[in-house]
Symmetry: C2
Subunit: 144 residues, 2 copies
DNA sequence: CATTGACCTAAAGTTAACTTTAGGTCATAT
DNA sequence: ATATGACCTAAAGTTAACTTTAGGTCAATG
């Protein structure tokens, strides 16, 4: 993502992040983009900080943080130095949680790879009768 | 998870997977646990295959697959060899998608680590005034 | 000068994934 | 024999995260 200008319209931001315009309005309404300004005619103007906020929202959504928690974090941001410790704690927890998520996904990826081999073999055989049915997925997972 | 018996009650399965009993009933109702039987009094009896299905549901939920897609996959399972290619394709796609998810999460983890350092420094300084404000998150992310 | 396109608000509607409620069956423990 | 705990169904309710609708402003274009 190349940011050449220093302010963007809602439609431009929507395209940048592959979000709908109403979704961005909804985020603004919910207080997820603090400090977002409007011009004299009422149009939203996204500056680089606002775009950064949207980027952060996308990150936090990706790691399954609910919007209300994202909102709380954005509020802390606006409240200044008094919330520094809360924000550090938040990211310390996120660190653990996301590391755990990555581990989980790696295990799941192994399960997926097992299934790929299973179905490849079954297709070769023309049937899944002959591929190991007795082993449970659980066992495969535990072999991580 | 140690499976010692070869059949389990809904309550036991709920505990195994940290799901609520109504959630399991809901999954059954939605056709996500094909072949789940009931005893003479109407109680659900989960055999190892059913537990395997629940395990698979949990995996697929983790990688953000909607229940209706999970249901479709479970249906393919019941339809036998005629759906082998569909199922292989499914897992081939999942492979790509989950690999991508892991990459994304690794980038996000870096962002989180950056934020941890940022707030640690800010707390040391007593304020975030002095820590680099000019760099956008975007830049940090792109440095992956 | 009218129409098109990008924006706006407020409010209602939608969907997925559950959860809750209300009422009932059974086996077991007191 | 009654009360407790684990199960059952059917149906209604909830919540999050959007999306859609209806109606309106404003600048540029044919």
């Amino acid at each position: 993502m190349e940011l050449t200008k220093d302010s963007y319209s809602i439609g431009e931001v929507a395209k940048l992040f592959n979000l709908s315009v109403p979704t961005l309005r909804y985020y603004d309404q919910e207080g997820l983009i603090p400090g977002l300004k409007k011009d004299s005619t009422g149009k939203r103007i996204f500056n680089l900080q606002n775009i950064d906020a949207v980027q952060m929202i996308e990150c936090l959504k990706e790691v399954k943080m609910p919007l209300k928690d994202i909102k709380r974090f954005m509020k802390w941001n606006m409240e200044g130095d008094s919330t520094l410790d809360k924000r550090l704690t938040l990211f310390n927890n996120l660190d653990k949680q996301v590391s755990e998520q990555i581990k989980q996904l790696s295990i799941i990826l192994k399960v997926i790879n097992y299934k790929q081999r299973y179905y490849q073999q079954a297709i070769e055989d023309g049937t899944e009768k002959y591929v190991s049915q007795n082993k449970t997925l659980l066992n495969e997972i535990m072999k991580s």
